[in-house]
């Protein structure tokens, strides 16, 4: 009921605004071109996110960090492929490096970037823009620039040295990871006002997902070594985006034989479409849940 009333008010308000605008236009007897721009611009409001995104991307491009990241990825992939000679081995070692580096860089870079664009965010918040749109522009700006870095730094060498299904899955998975960790980074940055604490929090997240979680998982598996653990292992892997990414890429090779029963189960699952669907679903949860939480925090934030 309240919502309906509210919606009605809003519509009245908007209708009123249109009246005022056309009123102005006729009162000032603007040229046809100018009246056209006024009517056109109303539909243009929808592109607000894109317009903001343009400025965020331009700003990120000025930052050297993304360039260094691209160069680092290029150097590493070219180096690994030319050293190992074997494409499969190359992909496997590249996988380990990418799983270590891309979450770390996505987290730290995004957190620092968010804190540094505080003035920009403050300025935008006083403009007629939804807070949600402001945060989305930051999120997509960061994602797009980091994914472009991955596509250039990782995609090109993979295409040259090892064009295969495994290579494609490595690229897609690292893009997914980037999106999930940018989202976690924004959450970390919104959880605390203090820049140092925010960066500390994202470092902690990285430690947790890279080392602590795996250690815990190993401990649990070791403790219950006599019991069937397939389902539990699968669940635990899904609860860590980095592990999930690793399994998806590894299963594109025939290495599951080394992974025992669980490996066989995973192989079975991921060789069918169901497994891929499941993995993408879990990855999407990792991307959107932290982002939604971050938006909720940002809406309540005092600037």
């Amino acid at each position: 009921m309240v919502n309906k009333q509210h919606e009605k008010n809003r519509r009245d308000y908007l209708a009123n605004k249109v009246d005022i605008q056309s009123g102005y236009a006729s009162a000032l007897s603007l040229s046809i071109e100018e009246t056209d721009t006024i009517t056109m611009t109303k539909s243009n409001r929808n592109n607000l996110l894109l317009r903001l995104l343009k400025y965020v991307l331009l700003d990120i491009l000025k930052n050297r960090m993304v360039l260094f990241y691209t160069l680092f990825l290029l150097a590493t992939s070219f180096g690994l492929f030319s050293m190992s000679g074997d494409a499969t081995k190359g992909i496997a070692s590249l996988l380990n490096i990418v799983l270590l580096v891309s979450p770390l860089l996505s987290l730290i870079f995004s957190t620092i970037y968010f804190y540094n664009s505080y003035e920009f965010i403050e300025l935008l918040s006083a403009q007629p823009i939804q807070r949600k749109t402001i945060l989305y522009s930051q999120y997509w700006g960061l994602c797009i620039s980091l994914i472009v870095a991955l596509v250039i730094g990782l995609g090109i060498p993979l295409l040259i040295f090892a064009p295969s299904k495994a290579a494609l899955s490595l690229l897609i998975v690292s893009c997914g990871l980037t999106m999930a960790f940018v989202s976690l980074a924004l959450l970390a940055a919104l959880l605390t006002r203090d820049k140092a604490r925010g960066i500390g929090l994202s470092l902690l997240m990285w430690f947790y997902f890279t080392f602590i979680y795996d250690a815990m998982m190993l401990m649990i598996m070791f403790a219950y070594i006599d019991y069937p653990m397939e389902t539990i292992t699968l669940t635990m892997i899904s609860l860590n985006p980095i592990d999930l990414a690793r399994v998806i890429v590894l299963l594109q090779h025939d290495v599951s034989a080394l992974m025992g029963y669980t490996g066989a189960l995973l192989q079975e699952l991921f060789s069918s479409g169901k497994g891929v669907l499941l993995a993408s679903g879990v990855m999407l949860i990792w991307i959107f849940v932290p982002l939604k939480l971050a938006i909720r925090l940002f809406n309540k934030r005092d600037l």
Binding site: A25, R51, E119, F120, E122, S125, Q127, P128, L303
Partner: protein
């Protein structure tokens, strides 16, 4: 035009705004005064939605502002300290804001842009601007989109005498068009020139909301500074 119902805001344990009720109408020009830390800026920021009040709601033109954003196209806001992205130039800043606000305004008002001679430093980056230059930029942006409501937080602080005259003339001009103007300042002579009503805020509460004339008559003083000084004295002795 602006209606505040039972607005409270706390930052941690400190209560900054304490159950405020307020109604401001079109054509009013209001001075918001009070000692440092009395909640002036917080009140202004709540109107814009930059600060989210703990309780109560704010209606602007009859629309509850909670969670909405379009009401901001009706407000020109000049912040106390204009903070802008460091690396963009003045020109880029104007272009950007204009582009973002496309569709929310009918005509641009670039009068201040010309009278402040902004084009003289339009290619400088925001980082390299002095405090006064920033103030000028903030003022231009506040007036640029012809808003119905103008909220100016310490507008003349940091401006040189000539620029501050230009700004005051501009405010008077907008007042004559029947806009609602809300100004905070510690320079009472400026306020006397521009406003005819005073809201006195102390510790998050409205002590009084009166016409300047009334205030002068009550305190039997010839100008605003003396009247306010008298009231502050009276408050101190009462406390």
């Amino acid at each position: 035009m602006i209606e505040l119902n039972n607005i409270s805001k706390s930052f941690g344990k400190t209560k900054v705004l304490d159950q405020l009720h307020l109604e401001l109408l079109k054509g009013q020009s209001i001075a918001l005064i009070g000692p440092n830390g009395s909640g002036k800026t917080t009140l202004i920021k709540s109107l814009l939605g930059l600060v989210v009040p703990s309780t109560g709601d704010i209606h602007i033109n009859g629309i509850n502002t909670k969670g909405t954003w379009l009401h901001r196209s009706n407000i020109g806001y000049m912040p106390q300290i204009g903070r802008y992205p460091d690396n963009i130039t003045v020109m880029q800043l104007f272009e950007m804001i204009k582009e973002i606000r496309i569709g929310t305004y009918s005509k641009l008002d670039e009068e201040l842009f010309h009278s402040f001679n902004i084009f003289k430093f339009e290619n400088k980056t925001m980082r390299s601007l002095s405090g006064g230059m920033r103030q000028k930029v903030s003022a231009c942006l506040a007036f640029m989109f012809n808003p119905e409501i103008l909220i100016l937080d310490e507008p003349t602080a940091g401006l040189d005498p000539i620029s501050s005259e230009i700004l005051k003339e501009k405010v008077k001009k907008e007042l004559n068009k029947g806009k609602l103007v809300l100004i905070t300042s510690h320079i009472l002579s400026d306020l006397e020139e521009l406003t005819d009503e005073i809201i006195y805020l102390n510790e998050g509460k409205i002590v009084f909301f009166k016409k300047v004339e009334e205030l002068k008559a009550e305190t039997e003083s010839g100008n605003l500074s003396k009247a306010i000084a008298r009231i502050m004295e009276m408050q101190n002795t009462a406390a």
